[in-house]
Amino acid sequence: MSILSKFDQLARTAERLGPADANPLRVTFDRIISSTEGVVNGRNTMLFGTNNYLGLTFDPDAIEASVSAVRRFGTGTTGSRVANGSYSGHRDLELDLAAFFGRKHGMVFSTGYQANLSMLSTLAGHGDYLILDSDSHASIYDGARLGHAEVIRFRHNDPADLRKRLNRIKDAPGSKLVVVEGIYSMLGDSSPLAEIAAIKREMGAYLLVDEAHSMGVLGAQGRGLAEQAGVEADVDFIVGTFSKSLGSVGGFCVSDMDGFDILRLACRPYVFTASLPPAVIASTQQSLRRLRDDASLRTRLRDNANQLYDGLRALGFHVGPQASPIVSVEVDNADLAVRFWNALLQGGLYVNLALPPATPTSKPLLRTSISAAHTPRQIDAAISLFAQVGVEMGVVSASQMRVPLVA
């Protein structure tokens, strides 16, 4: 027995997924060629599992902004913004984010995880209630655990269930904060936000929407699900990340709430961590400008998402409930999922493997994410490889494929 013995079961599960060069949990990219191509095990590989929705990681202007910032401001800030001071870039990015979302206040965190950890643990205190969608991301659950509020879950994307659960606590004196996501990361489905917002208004609760996967993806201006659903005025707090559509790392929260700035002193994951380095701030500012000004990125992303979703569905794969930049294929068991994942990788296609309990059902998922930077030819190649492996492994049958004569 050692202090690590409690992880024996987890270690055995991880080992069963295969040796190091074929283990989905241990993938290493030798090189990254572009936002859609890399080299894995010496093989050129199409990247279909990066969350790089707008393909901006190699945006020339973003790279130049980063290089310039690292020359002018150095490699790191070496400290917390509260204890060691902010750089002008932190403040400017917060102003940019607030302006983009049309909000009074913005606050930047060192990761998206810390943004949720901060807001969930701090907004709802002792005697308050956090009401979470049951499919919430780990950062939301962990934020709930770090805080002192009562935590209640409602059935995924079920407004009637949310109403029932809010009704049970309607006489309790504490504040109630409902938390949902713009796009859920495993299946790519969206929250029924107009209905959630109506319930929030009726029951006098606050609403926080995590737009991590929907910023730059949904809404005419790319402001996410709240914009698309036309309920931005009902959303008290928007949380998001820089590590998806903005191609860097970090997180944020924007809000119109009076007194918002006190959170800078109250959020422990904000106070007790080093701030983002200047190079990250600079590329994020540049990518936010690109996201704001170049609507063609969203058009291409939507077309690409539809191509992949429709293509995989026509092959007979069990995909999520709606087309989105996250397209997940459900398979029956973990052994099959690992073999399928390896066959795709050997065929030059990298996707994500998601295993229960990280998945919403007890089935594993081959999770793909699409980018505006993918070409229709790359997407066709990915669909063809899925078809070939799917037939080989008996996940789909060639006779059941509904492939149109003219694509």
Partner: protein, 80 residues
């Protein structure tokens, strides 16, 4: 109180049988995860169902302290 308690227990055990979905003996000392083999998804659905049966909310921090069927019955009784 005795009749209330036995009624709660019967309904909790009934919900557990639905969750396990195979013939199994369930007693007060039965451990819900270890003995019944419920995964995290099944536990979540069990808790949501029990909340609806009794029209209560069992906060997640309370759920984390529940190991046995007796623990679950006591948690429900403290909230109704």
């Amino acid at each position: 109180m005795t009749s209330l308690s036995s009624d709660v227990r019967a309904q909790v055990v009934q919900a557990l049988h639905v969750a396990v979905n195979r013939p199994v003996e369930i007693g007060g000392n039965t451990q819900i995860v270890q003995d019944l083999g419920l995964d995290s998804l099944a536990v979540m659905n069990l808790i949501l169902a029990i909340e609806d049966t009794f029209d209560i909310s069992i906060p997640l921090n309370r759920v984390a302290e529940i190991v046995t069927v007796d623990d679950l019955v006591q948690a429900v009784e403290s909230l109704i």
